[in-house]
Subunit: 577 residues, 2 copies
């Protein structure tokens, strides 16, 4: 008996493509496993409540079920696949939606065989807003074998919800295998965490454990695939990341399983927020530095998310506002590395009064190396015109932040004008450190269709740039990596004049965002009181900028965006002491 | 025995102000009722998980409890007040947070007496993300009387959650009164819905029903107060809307109560989404037209939300980009009507190539009527400079949408430059119809700290303007109300050249957004196929604009913003047929 893990996806609600894929595999023998909610796409948000979606899904489902029922019976083929099951009130309004597994057998109608029990509701997850949880463990038999069934989060446990689906399922063994259909978002290191947990579960169930995961990027959320099968401590097979792929695995014989403790394995909103600090515990603490594998994952994830967004939203051209600094250089490089045939990428350099000649030279260098068209569109004249207009119409001084922000907003306006002109997708170039302390201009450098680097701290931006240079060819000029970061919005401006050095800033931010530390907590990690105060001050007063930020590709367990929900209006004193 | 309903609030986490208010009322005899989560503020989002918040709250709570315990015992005074109760894991991470009622008696420590049972999790509500529900109905005794307790949503029921707290509580009667502590957001007509339900509950419990509600604006969410007491069908007292106030009511004797059916009274994500159409059922359907009371509620709500946002975020100045059109005129008028002493409001008119002379005249007229400083800041020169820069650097045509959007984005940039110069808060002027069909320019007219009109359809904008003129003096020039709407971004542009007439557009949008109708549903309401197609097309392809829109004051049960969650990337075919 073979088990086939199909890690793939289609655009949300592209039922035609889904049907085509399904019918094509139903000719091959074995147990075909598809990801959670493969029949609809995930996450759907309010879409699952809209009649436009519900009606299309209902028609697709009925047609698919009839088509499969009309096929000749074949005992050697079965598919298990994630989908939605609706119940409607008398008025036709859905009053229950379940996240379920359907069994698909040639010659039979589709049959619902399991309902997901543990509905994640932390961070970006909203499943309890929409879905009704199942109450029974999943047991399924086919051709004389007995299987345990799980959907994604069911493999974890929640003391918050007082639920441990794995323990409940284990009580119903023995099984020949346990099967998990997932749509589990990527974050750095998550694949290993899943596999570790699966090994434990394999021992618990005394059976091999098969895990198939969605691949795809949905706006800010990224699914990595990395499907696998384990048996006891052994990994039988491991799928690629960020690529559609089918793994075929013969059902393995039982192996030696170890006894497993009954302690609950948490995966709630709190346990997920692992700050990643350096193993070296000297104070002040430093961020963990990504190893080769982690850099590889992040690069592949960012390339994939850009391409999937572009494909789903009809973009064939990309544009990056290049400044001669590190962030835009890395964003441009990633975009270039992701480029498919027929796609175009261009860079626009928009020098102002304080742009160093070096910025232009470095912009030219990187575009030559990457083979990208670069256009210079100076903003000096527009800038002075804006200044003149204000000086002749308003009595107030035109200086400081007013003068600085004009430059950034002119660039935002110009890059979007270019986007309108060519139909290109604007790639935002902000990093997580800037976003966290509001070191960006609203409607200026914060604009974009998608932020590639918005979940990377500045030090991680450098790390990834250096890793790319070491592994993908020397694409990013050394001069860009070595120069001091600057927004170039005033004379001799350097980031470190306004902000703590990035190695400390980034570690403090990780403490605040992922550990949710207060000032006392940061001091206990060895940070300096004046810097801690300054960081909290900047963080707390800039929530309004994050609220209108463009979607940020999520590569960590805690990111700005949909899963981050902090009021703008609040007592600023909360962050003191 | 007197019951005092304190409808009020403080800035989230302003514990000093909360303590001061509490201690000041503990000198007056009676049962003092404060709103849900009065001790912390609401909604908190992730703030309730941050150590900065948790630590401040813990210290405040302990100090308050000791202060009250140290007061002389007084049997005539008690307060019931909403707050949070935390349980922590061994690592100090919260593993349970409950939304509870505390009893406050002089001479005693604070005592938790009830945990909210029905945690709303639809639309803007995320309570199941953070809170653990209570499992027992609330019964509380004081000075020989027996009371039923509820927190907000407990007065409704949910078949989704299979929970009807009112029926459970009724089984534990008789009560001398039932008390509900709420933080219930405003929407048009909601106060009446609450009171209707309360009358039913009064009959069910065979006791008077007291309801105290939060007053305050938290970013986009607005709490209206409108606290009340009912006894059977009689309304004993009714608090004002959008104003802090204390109502004092003697505990009334029992009255005649009617038998009440046991059918479940829904208040789930679905039952809330009531589209509001005209009583006249002729086809195509029209939107319900706000009556005087509804116009009054909306105006007061918008004024209040602007003022509360400004006060909480430290703004004393406001600025509006005035176009000579209806939306900016109404936004300006509402801002003017809200103005407190010491505050300033100014208007900036930014004419471009296609701005009619009439637009300037009307802008001048309204500013004269309202007594507001108006400055003209022409964009023609900047516009032609941008065009020149593009024509000399890029080979592509500079025309159509490219040319149109530049004007809107220049205005966005300039109004924010003015905001930087004076520290003023930018009031966004977009309406819900525009936002729904993407008839706005990203980073152009979509900018702002807060959108006042973003939950009003265009026809409601007109209705409110006319109502203000009829009831607050002729503030808005008739010429603004009577001219055809235009974005003035190209020669002779009129909204109705691109969009269906607003009376039909708005009704179609209400069908889509609140009823979640598909095309078939709209056709059944009598709309025209070509217009239905066009509206769905515009709606479905502009999600990316709404994602980055500024916070919109929510005055309806379904609004764009935090409670509206639709993916950008999805199959566009979903909205056809």
């Amino acid at each position: 008996m073979k088990i086939l893990l199909h890690q793939t996806h289609h655009t949300i609600g592209d039922f035609e493509a889904i049907e085509k894929t399904l019918l094509s595999i139903l000719t091959r023998d074995g147990i075909h496993l598809f990801p959670e909610l493969y029949l609809t796409g995930y996450p759907l948000g309010d879409l699952c409540l809209q009649s436009s979606f519900i009606e299309h899904y209902r028609r697709f489902f009925e047609k698919l079920s009839k088509t499969i029922e009309a096929l000749p019976v074949n005992q050697e083929i079965v598919a298990l696949i994630g989908g939605l099951e609706y119940e409607f009130s008398n008025e036709g309004v859905p009053n229950s939606i379940k996240n379920v597994i359907f069994e698909i057998k040639p010659g039979h109608p589709l049959k619902q065989i399991y309902t997901k029990r543990l509905l994640p509701n932390y961070d970006i997850f909203d499943e309890q807003k929409y879905f009704t949880a199942g109450t029974q463990p999943g047991v399924w038999s086919w051709n004389g074998k007995r299987f345990g069934l799980m959907v994604c989060e069911d493999m974890w446990a929640s003391s918050f919800h007082k639920l441990d689906p794995a323990m409940d399922l284990a009580a119903l063994g023995p099984f020949d295998a346990v099967l998990n259909l997932s749509a589990s978002p990527f974050n750095v290191g998550k694949a290993e965490k899943r596999r570790d947990r699966a090994r434990t579960l394999s021992h618990l169930f005394k059976a091999p454990f098969f895990y198939v995961n969605r691949v795809g990027a949905e706006d800010e959320i990224l699914f990595d695939g990395a499907s696998f099968a384990v048996n006891g401590d052994e990994t039988l097979v491991m799928g690629p990341i960020f690529a559609a792929h089918t793994l075929t695995i013969p059902l393995p014989p039982k192996t030696d399983y170890k006894p497993v403790g009954t302690e609950i394995c948490e995966n709630t909103w709190e346990s997920l927020f692992e700050a990643r600090f350096s193993v070296d515990k000297s104070l002040p603490r430093r961020l963990h530095v990504w190893d080769d594998e982690e850099c590889h994952q992040v690069l592949e994830g960012l390339k994939f998310s850009l391409q999937d967004y572009a494909q789903k939203n009809g973009f064939k051209k990309f544009v990056v506002a290049l400044s001669g600094g590190m962030d835009s250089a890395l964003a441009l490089t990633i975009a270039k590395l992701s480029l498919a045939s027929g796609q175009e990428l261009e860079a626009v350099y928009m020098p102002g009064n304080f742009s160093a000649p070096l910025s232009w030279e470095l912009s030219l260098q990187i575009c030559q190396k990457l083979g990208i068209k670069l256009t210079s569109l100076p903003i000096k004249f527009l800038h002075s015109n804006v200044k003149m207009a204000f000086q002749s119409n308003f009595p107030d001084a035109f200086e400081g932040l007013t003068d600085e922000n004009v430059q950034s907003r002119l660039r935002g306006m110009l890059i979007y004008t270019r986007s309108n002109q060519t139909g290109s997708m604007v790639i935002n170039t902000s990093n997580k450190s800037e976003i966290a302390v509001g070191y960006s201009t609203q409607y200026g450098d914060s604009v974009g269709a998608l932020s590639l680097l918005g979940d990377l701290y500045k030090s991680e931006v450098y790390r990834l740039a250096e890793w790319i240079n070491a592994n993908k060819g020397e694409l990013i000029p050394k001069g860009i990596i070595s120069r001091a970061p600057s927004a170039e919005l005033r004379e001799n401006q350097k980031d470190e004049d306004s902000l703590p050095p990035y190695d400390r800033l980034d570690a403090m931010l990780e403490g605040i965002l992922s550990f949710r530390y207060n000032a006392q907590g940061l001091l206990s990690l060895g940070f300096y009181e004046d810097e801690v105060k300054r960081v909290f001050h900047l963080y707390s007063k800039t929530e309004y900028k994050r609220r209108q930020f463009c979607p940020i590709v999520k590569i960590k367990s805690k990111s700005f965006g949909f899963g981050y929900r902090v009021p703008i209006s609040k007592n600023p004193g909360l962050y003191q002491a």
